[in-house]
Symmetry: C2
Subunit: 114 residues, 2 copies
């Protein structure tokens, strides 16, 4: 039992590991902060606690963003895409989103047109 | 041979299917349009043709976004995340991004705080 609303659980299309990617966006600036992964329990926590919660694939455990760094994400909205296989989580980020200290995880620009 | 710059190819961390998720964002409004997937050849095409190009997991083939719908995405920038396993593609979208006709694929709101 993950606690996730069965009506939402029925619409989720998970990968072979039971996970769905979550695009995380700063709600006011629109900056894309990071991509993380959720299982049903992480989505339930995100929807009900107000704190963005993910499944850490590297640690193999639930991960409340900021629980060690203090760089929390207050949840503003959560949406599911047309295929039911991706989430968009709009948040209010405290501090930098990236573990490198960058505001976002997408600091490595491969191409920028003029 | 995919044509992808070997220095970029060396930094990509692909999943077991050789794919990397690409978050697609409208460059001026900041709207997150969709999540798609790229293999090395799709990333090479995106970086060199100016048209966002993906790997369609459902069709099992390269997919120039808009090739049938006309709803192209002109590439504005491409960035790689800190782990090398996710791309952020900023585009100028022609028409709706979603095959449903919605402006974005994230029309299904699960939670919205006041």
């Amino acid at each position: 039992m993950t606690g996730l609303d069965p009506l939402i659980a029925a619409r989720l299309k998970r990968d072979s590991n039971g996970l769905v990617p979550a695009v995380v966006q700063q709600h006011d600036t629109g900056a894309v902060l990071m991509l993380a992964w959720m299982n049903d329990a992480a989505l339930h926590a995100t929807l009900t606690t107000g704190r963005a919660t993910y499944w850490s694939r590297s640690r193999g455990s639930m991960w409340v963003k900021g629980e060690t760094s203090g760089h929390h994400q207050a949840v503003v909205s959560v949406a599911l895409d047309c295929d039911g296989d991706t989430l968009l989580v709009r948040v209010d980020q405290t501090g930098p989103a990236c573990h490198t200290g960058s505001p976002t995880c997408f600091a490595d620009v491969l191409l920028e047109t003029s």
